[in-house]
């Protein structure tokens, strides 16, 4: 458990850092996939099997592939950028904010260690329970999610197709 935690954490952190620092866009996405895989591994370690499958299916199978497609549609195929166009205008402000927030969160977590007062659980939830919960207690959010996803689907198609329609 412990070794696995550290290995997976290293994978996630390295993946995340590479994803936002690399120059080549496709390399960025590949490191993002590494990050997603690490998070999926963490879910497995936390006994959330279903979330593991959902993470791999949605993030690696759908979101990452979608981003790859977007890169192919917007950039030169190589995906490389020039030397000076990586960072935005006020990059120092962004980095400063990130560092401050990291420090704040770190201080808050250090101040009230929750671990001492909580026992560690060692069971796993079956998919059956999740399925029942989804169509019983969480029915309304579940249906709303369906509506939201449909709206997002149609919206994405409309936004991406806009220019083509105008030309006709």
């Amino acid at each position: 458990m412990e070794i696995a935690f550290w290995i997976l954490s290293a994978i996630t952190v390295i993946g995340a850092i590479l994803a936002i620092t690399m120059r080549n866009l496709v390399h960025c996405v590949l490191s993002l996939i590494l990050f997603f895989l690490g998070i999926a591994g963490h879910y497995l370690l936390l006994r959330a099997d279903f979330l593991f499958a959902v993470q791999v299916l949605i993030y690696i199978g759908a979101v990452a592939v979608l981003i790859l497609f977007a890169i192919m549609l917007t950039r030169h195929v190589t995906g490389t950028e020039g030397p000076r166009e990586v960072l935005g205008g006020k990059w120092w402000a962004g980095m400063g904010t990130a560092v401050i927030i990291a420090g704040l969160l770190w201080a808050i977590i250090r101040k009230d260690p929750l671990a001492a007062m909580l026992p560690a659980g060692m069971a796993s939830t079956s998919v059956t329970e999740i399925g029942r919960a989804l169509v019983a207690d969480w029915l309304v959010p579940f249906e709303a999610m369906g509506v939201l996803l449909t709206a997002a689907l149609i919206g994405a198609v409309v936004i991406a197709l806009e220019e083509v329609i105008r030309k006709r």
Binding site: M1, F5, T12, V13, I17, A19, I20, L25, C28, V29, L32, I39, H42, L46, A48, F50, L51, Y59, A62, V63, I67, A70, I71, L73, T74, E81, V86, L87, G88, G89, W91, G94, M95, T97, A98, V99, I101, A102, L105, W106, I109, P113, L114, A115, L118, A120, G121, T125, I130, A133, L134, P141, L148, L149, A152, G155, I159, A160, E162, E163
Partner: protein, 103 residues
Amino acid sequence: MNVSLDHYLMLSAFLFAIGLCGALSRKNAIIVLMGIEIMFNAGILNFVAFWHYKYFAVLTAQMFAIFAISIAAAESAIGLALVIAVYRHYQSIDVDEMRSLKG
């Protein structure tokens, strides 16, 4: 030393900061979106860690995680469609160049 909830909270705080850094300081719109995805994942990891260590019998955290993942998928689809639309207009996806409100 066992792995505790605090470890997960710190990991996810760290990941959140990395994602924020990427979203705020990179110029490329797609990388900004990727930073947002990293922040999303850090938050969801928090939910799952809390579920594992505290509310084990209650499924609320897992449900939140599932809904958050679906919303993230919808968000990335819309975001990328916007990126493509913006690219068609400006021939560039640098967030610094999207300054005018006129179409």
